[in-house]
Structure formats: C-alpha cells, structure tokens
C-alpha cells in the first residue's frame, strides 16, 4: 500500500513538473521576453551618442522584473521568466543601464 502511494506521488510530481514547464511555454513569456530584448537591442543599435531611453518596468509586454546590459547583450526578465540567453546589440558607443524604482534608463555615450 505504501509503495503504491509513493509511486502515485512520484507520478504526480513528474506530471506536475511537465505541466508547469509546458504552461510556462504556453503563456507566451518567452515571446514577450524576446520582444523586450530585441526592441531594446534595436534601440541601442540605432542610437547616437548622448541618447538615453526609459523603459518602464510595467509596460505593455508585462512586468520587467529585471534587466541587464552585459557583454554586448541585453537580458530582460518578463513576468517571472527566470532564464534568458540575451540578445546581441552592436554599437560603437558605451552603453550603461541605470535601475530606478519603476523604470530602467539606458544611456548611450
């Protein structure tokens, strides 16, 4: 009886794991993440020295919980997405990111 119970719990765990992974893909977070990362990368690509732009944490693509600019890539975490490959940008200027309470400010200098 105990053995059956343990196996049932294991089966439930396996299904729960796969259900959450599938749900994670189906809710479109990855697409939203791509949109934010690529939009920001294109803004940086086309920016001239001295420009800066503001990205609000709460925007039409969801809540951007974190954003990073590292090694020539933009990383954005939208609606709780925990992993990002980032997206490459190209610019001849220095890019910096400042985090404020409700927004991110990206400066191109």
């Amino acid at each position: 009886m105990h053995q059956v119970l343990i196996h049932l719990i294991l089966i439930a765990l396996v299904f729960a794991l796969f259900f959450f992974v599938t749900a994670g893909r189906a809710d479109g977070n990855e697409a939203k993440q791509q949109v934010v990362e690529k939009q920001v990368a294109l803004l940086i690509d086309s920016a001239s020295a001295g420009m800066s732009f503001t990205i609000y944490k709460q925007n039409m693509n969801g809540v951007i919980s974190d954003m990073k600019v590292e090694d020539g890539k933009v990383f954005a975490y939208v609606d709780g997405s925990g992993y990002s490959n980032g997206y490459e940008f190209f610019t001849k200027y220095d890019v910096s990111l400042e985090k404020k309470e409700d927004r991110y400010i990206i400066s191109v200098e």
């Binding site: 299904f15 599938t22 990855e30 690529k38 690509d45 190209f90």
Partner: protein, 154 residues
C-alpha cells in the same frame, strides 16, 4: 505473516515500467508544446538596415569616399570592435570592393531565396539589406553599393 517475495519484486518492476511510460508520455507532451509554442521574432532585416546606415555614414561622410582609411578593416575603423561575427558587410564603390565578415552567408542567402523552404527552417536564413548611393570617389561621381547580411543568432 509471510510476504510473497516474487510478488513484491514483480510489483516493483511494474511500477518502474509505469513510471518510465508516464515519463515518456510527459516528454512527448513537452516536445509538442516546445514545437507548437515556439515563437521567433526576426529583427535581422532591421539590423542589416541599421548597419547599412552606419557603414554609409562611416565610408562616405558628407558623400566623399576615401578608401585608404580602411586598411585595418572596415568595421574596426568604423568603431565596431567586437561582437560583429554575425555580420557580413560589402561595399562596392565603382568596382573597388571593401568587405568584412564571413562571405559564406551570401550563399546561405541564395539557398534560402531559391528553395521552397519549410517554415521551421526559415529562421536560419540571413537578414539582408542593400542600398545604393551616389558618392564622390577620386573626384568623380560614382555609385556606391552597400550590402549587409546578418546571420542567425543560434
């Protein structure tokens, strides 16, 4: 109370078999979800367009071309030092050619133009932009053609 050892072992094997089967079904569900919900946003055409603008502004500032400045590499002189592996840039000014990057991406583009491609592999085709501009080169008015190809990021 005596336990039937053979029966217990059989039950255990059956459970392992069930677990493997359930795991297999769950993997299929995950695989199908990954295929159906995969979404790719292609911005390489836009990147190629932006790079073309940068190259034109660098090669022909105010419309005058001086190719002797680019002996150390086109993109390096234009200020793009790193992370340019995805780009292939070709500038043709009256037959004088400047190029940088992996030219192999050109035939990849041709393959993707000529073949009926499946939607699933479309994302591996390069982004492309071509522009033609009137410039002054060696005191004469010439056409400058700039081609930029951007390979995929995978």
């Amino acid at each position: 109370m005596k336990m039937n050892k053979k029966g217990v072992a059989g039950e255990g094997i059956l459970m392992v078999y069930r677990l493997v089967l359930i795991g297999f079904i769950a993997l299929i569900i995950l695989g199908l979800a990954a295929v159906f919900y995969d979404y790719y946003i292609d911005v390489r055409g836009t990147e190629a367009m932006i790079m073309t603008r940068e190259v034109v502004n660098c090669v022909a500032p105010s419309g005058v071309v001086d190719l002797t400045r680019f002996e150390n590499g086109l993109l390096e002189v234009c200020g793009f030092d790193s992370g340019m592996e995805r780009f292939y840039v070709r500038v043709d000014v009256g037959g004088e050619i400047l190029e940088q990057g992996d030219s192999g991406v050109e035939w990849v583009k041709e393959i993707f133009e000529n073949e009926d491609k499946v939607e699933a592999i479309k994302k591996y085709g390069p982004g492309y932009f071509e522009g033609e501009y009137n410039v002054l080169f060696n005191g004469e008015e010439k056409k400058m053609k700039v081609e930029v190809l951007v390979s995929h990021e995978f």
